[in-house]
Every structure is written in C-alpha cells, then in structure tokens.
Amino acid sequence: MSDLMLAAVTVRRGGRTVLADASVTFAAGRLTAVIGPNGAGKSTLLAVAAGLLSPDAGSVTLGGEPLATVNARALARRRAFLPQNPAIAWPISVERVVALGLTAHLPAFGDLPRRYGGAIDLALARHDLTSLRHRAATELSGGELARVMLARATVGDPELLLADEPTAGLDPRHALDAAAQLRARADAGCTVVVALHDLSLALRIADDVVALKGGRVMEAGAAANVDDALIAELYDVDARVTRDCAGVVVRFA
Amino acid sequence: MGAAGALVRPMLAALCLAGCSAAPTVPRSSGRPVRVMSMNGCTDQLVLALLPRERIASVTTLARDPEYSLLAARARAIPTNRGLAEDVASVGPDLVVASSFTSPAQLAMLRRLGFPMLVVGDPGSPEAIRRAVRAVAAAVGERAEGEALVAGMDRDLAELARAPGPPLAVAAWGEEGLGAPAGSLADTVLTAAGAHNVGVGRGGRADSIEALLALSPSLLVTGDPRFRHPGRHDDLAFHPAIARRWRARTLVLPEATVICGTPFIGRVALAIRAQLRAAAARRG
C-alpha cells in the first residue's frame, strides 16, 4: 500500500492548459473523491494519476517510485482504471469480461492458471453477477454493466483503483450499490480515487476530497471539511451541505 | 452531285470484303502511283515486298517492329502512320492500300476524302495470298514483281509437297494456351512443312495445361524467344512443368511469319521443315 502523489502536474492539449500545476496526494487505503464542474480536468487528472497520460510538466510517484519508470505490465497488476462510459465491442460473456481484468497476470504463453478461477468467482459473487455470468455483455442494462466493470476492475485485487464517473447514468439503487463497493474496496486497504458528479454520494463515501476547477486544484483535504462555501465556489451555485445522523446531503438553491 | 452514287458500288464491294477475303476493288487512278500509303500492318508487308522505297509514302508503325513485320529493316527509312484517316490527309498519297479490317467508319471517311483506294482482305490461305498479291501488284503497276513473288511461293510449296518433313506431333503453345487452330496460317504452315498439328480439333478450353500434358506432342511450337513480354500470361506460357518437359523440344515459329498472309509463307514452311528434320535427327 503506497501513496500516490502528483507534484506540480501540468497537462496541455491543443494549446489549452487542461491541468495547471496540480499537486495532490492520494493517501493509501483511503477513498478520495474528485469533484468539480464539467471541463475542470477531472478525467485528465485521473488519467495522469493512473499513469496512462504523461504530463507535460511535474511528476507522478507511487510510493516514491516515479510512475513512468514502472513497467506497464507490473503497474497493470497493481492498478485498475475505469474510464467514463465504458463499452464492450463484442458480445462476450460477463465472466469473460471479468476475467479480462486479469490480463496483466497472464503468463507469457497460455491461459490463466487455475487458481485464478476462484478470484473470478469471488468478483462475480461480490458484485451480484453470478446469475449473469454467461450473459452476453452487450445485452446488459446500464446498472448491470456498471457492476460488471467494477468487477473487472477489482478481480485482480489492485492496490490502486481509479474510476471516472462509475455511477453515471445509474438509478439511485445501482448508484448506491456501486458506491458501496468502492467504499468496501477502500476499507479493505485499496487506494481508491473516484471522479463523481453526484456530490451527496461523493461526500457519503469519501475520506478525502479533491476539488478541481478550470484545471486547478482548489481544495484538497478531508471530506468532512467540505462546506457550503467550497461547493458554491466550485459550481457557481448556492449550496447547503447538511450532515446529520442519516448521512450527508448537498442541497442546491 | 453524283458523288454519293459513285461511292455506292465501291462501298458495296468493300462491305462484301469485310466478310470474304481478297476480292479487292480496283482504284480509279493511273496505273503507276508514286506515293503509295499503306494503312494496315499486313498490307504493309505486301507494299514493302512489291515496291522500292522511293515509291512508298508511308507505312504503319507496325512495319518497323520486327516482332510483327518480316520486312522491318526495309521499313526503317520510310515515314510511318498510325492507320488513321487524318494521317492520309496529311500525307496526300496517290494510292491508299487499306485492309478489310480497317473500320468501316475509316473506310467511309477515306472514300469521302476522295483518295484512290484499294481495300485488301487478310489472306488466310495460299490461294487467297496469290489473289491479294496480284491485286496489289496490279494497283501499284508492278505486275511482273507480283508474279515473281507468287511463283516463288508456289515453288516452295511444291517442294514441300514433294518432300515434306517428318510427321512429328506438334502443338502450338503461347500466352493463351493452345494456338494454331484449324484453318489458321500457323496451322497451314505447320501442316505444309509436314508436321502433325495435334492441337487442332480439341474441344474444351484452350488454356489448359493439363490438356497439353495429356496431348503430349513431340515438339512444342513457340514464338520467338527474343520477344518475351513480362506479364501474368507467363504463368501459362512458361509454366515450369511445361518449360522443363519441352526444354530441348521446341520449334520456333515467330509471330511475324504467320500474323499476316504474305508470299513468304513458303519460305517459312521450309524453315519449319528444317527444324523438324533436325529434331527428328536428335531423337533418332
């Protein structure tokens, strides 16, 4: 378990500065929610943190080791990444999709060793997919697909999990399920980074929060510290954060 | 004007020529033209054979190509045309020799332009060759030369009839598979030389290597090796199985010798007979 640290990361694309001088630490074993308006640079931040995008300036280190120097396959074994709006090109079975999460664990030649069969079964069970294991992935509903993707991401028991809007388009029940799964991963010791639009959900499950606006990190700290002022500044909208025994709710004017 | 009417008879004659061979129309002009223009590769041969260079105004570009012309050397100094009616207008000959294979549109154009014209069919047999040579000779005022050429051909053919070559089984093989079909000049020459053309009369597709292997002729008749053009047809014409099998058993019959009916076919057949005798000697 190691900290994921971004130091002065800058990303430019097509003349625009998408991320400017971002310095963030994603602490080990904690769930960090990345929030901010559309176009703030959340997806870019996640891609850089996952090691899939090289910043134009700054560095990314995992437990002190620069991400750029880590072998791609070795990194793939430790880190799972879920992009926005995942789609599956061929009608392969759900079980097969989950198994793909173990691609980096495949030996040079041949199929997965038998011992991984258990990991797949476990991932399927954990995300309530056992009855769907032989269903074609292209025939799944939005909620089912989201569960499958999470199962795919967690099957290899990564120490780092980054998810970009995993609850997009999900109804409240499925969104809560997905959020609960992410929380469970964090509780098990995984470093989880999630970009979320749903603020109530974000504050509900997150230990830490990173607020991005216009490519800059406005705030980075404990989720408990998120207040009305921050949300108002972030989204240019009056907001009220209410914390009570039922949980956390963010209301907008 | 009566021009339209005056054109009708020659036109009908020309139309009849398209079907039959060598019953040419006689030109209306003088008996000894000094600027003769030939519009077709085969009429080139006849014109070149009968006339001295000074009296030939133009021949086609094919006349200089040794792949298709027996008299290519003679044609080198003579201006060339592309066989188009426009070329006639610029040359201004006093006799145009065209073939019945010239397109009817071109023939019609030439008549409209008013040039004295002789249309010759493509002769496919010795008899037709005699008629064509005599007709062209008469039109260019060289009857004696024409008779000499015909006599030479007849002499050669008589010699071959008297002492034909050994009756070896032969088949012509080229870019399109089996060649020298019955009635073609190639077949006439091969048969006159004494060979037995087994490629004739075989049904089915001509381009079958399996069929050739089954026919198994003693000699394979091929074109002049100097004129090989690269292309896909090489797979058929020069397939390794064939090349190996008949490597030392080929008989060369250059395209230039049989593509047109000329009075030289007698000489050609004599050359074939010599090759047949040499081949028989090698085997025996």
Binding site: R79, L100, D111 | H229
Partner: protein, 330 residues
C-alpha cells in the same frame, strides 16, 4: 478456460484436408484416389504424377497460404479496430498490393529480380494499411469503408493505367486477373516467392491475440491492462502488409475472404477476439481452396476468376452484415 477452440481448430483442419484432397483429385483430368499416392510420392513421369505434383499441389498450397493469411489478417484487423467490417479487401489493401505488383511485373523489374514482385506488393499494401489504420482511429465505420472504397477505386484505375501503358500489348487484358484474383497455373516458383513473406506476416499477426482480447474493453482500458497499443498496431500493420501484400502480388486481389472467415468462426468461439485467429486462418484457407475448386470445375466460357466466386459468397454476406449492424447498432 473453454476447450472449444481446439475442437473447432481440429474440425476446420479436417475439413481443409478433405477439400485439399478433392482439389488434388478434381479438374479436367480426374485422378482416381488410388493414383494420388503414387502421383504425390512417385518419381515417374506419369501424366497423373505431373498434373498433381506440378500443377495441383503448388496451386493447393498457395490457396491455403493465401486464404489463411487473408482470414488471419481479417480477424486481427476486426479485433484491432473493433469493427466487424474491417478486412484487407474492403480496406483497399489488396488493391494497393496489386498495384505495386503490376508496376513491378509489367515494367521489367521482376524479370531482373523475381523477389521484386512480393516486395512491391508489400510496399503497396503497407501504404494502404497505414492510411486505413489511421482513419480507423479518427472516423467511424462509414469513414473507414468509404476510404477503403476510394482507395480500391484509385488503385484499380492505377492498375488499369499501368497495364495500358505497359510495353506488352496484351497486358491490358490481364486486368481482370489483378482485380479479381486467380490461382490458375501457379507453380512452385510462386509458392517459393510468396510463402516466406506470408508465413512471416502470420508470425507477426498471431502474437496480437492477447491485445485483441483486451481491446474488447476499449483502448483506454486495454492500455490500463498493460497492453502496448503502439506495438499491437505495428504488428497488425506490418503483418498485414507482409502477408497480404505478398499473397496479392502472386494471385491478384481476392476479396471478402478476410471478411467472411472471422465472422463465420466468431460465434463458435464465444466472440472472443483472440480465439478467432487460428480458426479464421483455417476457415480462410478452406474458403479459397473451395473457391478455386469451383473455378476449375465450372466450364462456362473463359476461366472464372477466383474473386468472382468469393464475391458470390462474400458480397451477399457483406450486405447482410451491413443490414444486421444497422438493426442492432443505434
């Protein structure tokens, strides 16, 4: 993991053997099964022996190699682009390779250096495949197919022009062979020329299997799984160019094999891209062997070109596929 791929491979291999046997026996000269053994292994100069060893066997070997590489390339390109309509024929690769080969053969280069033929085909294929893969990333399916059609037209016009201008006056009549493909009268010379490149191309294409599986989740996820996408694309590019380029240089452009073969086997391997590679190779070989057999057995007029037969099967399939995709996709 599922045991079905090995079973499918065995079945396809078996079918291929049967088709191969038929291919050796049938033709203008029907050879009895009892004669085949002597024909294949005997040294005598019997007619059957010559026909089988010099004519039918090289033709059969070439059919398997060409069909195989087309099927394999189609499977890889479909997996890489995640597009069920991708294949070397539709993308214009075969046409580009034909153009390269025509320039080499008819302008004397290959007479001097026989290996110029597959090399020229390879170059033509490389250029076109590169363009196609570039387009596949940016635009959608329609762009890709349209670009392929455009390239095929341009290459076809180029071939026609090259043949018309060639020194050989009969060259222009051979355009059909280049645009529709033919295995007629191929000899061991051509097998020796093309086989190393075809096998080399296959060797570059087969290792993309794992990447293709991961790509089912999209490029971002595939990369996050440790797949080197750049390397995968290069392998697909050079494998296709090498294999299909050399094959086309020797047979002309054979269409639709790379489209049909992967589609036929995909449902039988649960749609797993990696699992389609070997079966598509065998299915492609089977398809071409059978098509070639048809061209030899049908006796209407001049020789039926190979591409005509594959198009008779492939074009309706292509149409059905397009309609099917329209119905299922948004």
């Amino acid at each position: 993991m599922s045991a079905r791929p090995p079973l499918l491979v065995a079945m396809l291999a078996g079918l291929l053997l049967v088709a191969a046997a038929a291919s050796l026996l049938a033709g203008e000269l029907w050879i009895r099964p009892s004669e085949v053994g002597a024909a294949l292994f005997g040294h005598g100069e019997t007619l059957a022996g010559m026909v089988v060893r010099e004519l039918r066997l090289p033709r059969l070997v070439l059919a398997v190699l060409v069909g195989g590489i087309l099927g394999l390339s189609g499977a890889v390109l479909q997996g890489l682009t995640r597009n069920p309509l991708a294949e070397p024929g539709l993308l214009g690769v075969s046409a580009g390779a034909s153009l390269g080969a025509v320039l080499a053969i008819y302008y004397g280069l290959s007479s001097v250096l026989p290996i110029a033929t597959p090399l020229a085909g390879l170059t033509g294929a490389l250029l076109v495949t590169g363009v196609a893969l570039l387009l596949a990333r940016g635009g959608g399916t329609v762009t890709l197919i349209l670009a392929g059609a455009a390239v095929t037209s341009i290459a076809g016009a180029g071939i026609s022009l090259a043949l018309n201008l060639a020194p050989n006056p009969y060259a222009a009549y051979e355009i059909m062979t280049w645009l529709l493909g033919s295995l007629a009268d191929r000899s061991w010379d051509q097998v020796a020329l093309a086989a190393p490149f075809i096998l080399g191309g296959g060797a570059l294409l087969l290792p993309t299997a794992r990447a293709l599986d991961a790509l089912a989740l999209g490029e971002a996820q595939a990369r996050s799984l440790g797949i080197d996408l750049g390397r995968t694309r290069l392998l697909a590019l050079f494998g296709t160019a090498l294999g299909v380029g050399a094959a086309t240089a020797v047979t002309g452009a054979v269409g639709f094999v790379g489209l049909v073969a992967p589609h036929v086997v995909r449902p039988l391997v649960s749609h797993r891209p990696a699992a389609t590679l070997m079966p598509a190779t065998l299915a492609g070989g089977l398809l071409v062997v059978l098509a070639d057999l048809v061209t030899r057995l049908v006796h209407v007029g001049p020789e039926l070109k190979l591409g005509v037969v594959t198009a008779l099967v492939g074009a309706p399939f292509f149409l059905w596929l397009v309609l099917h995709l329209r119905r299922t996709a948004p």
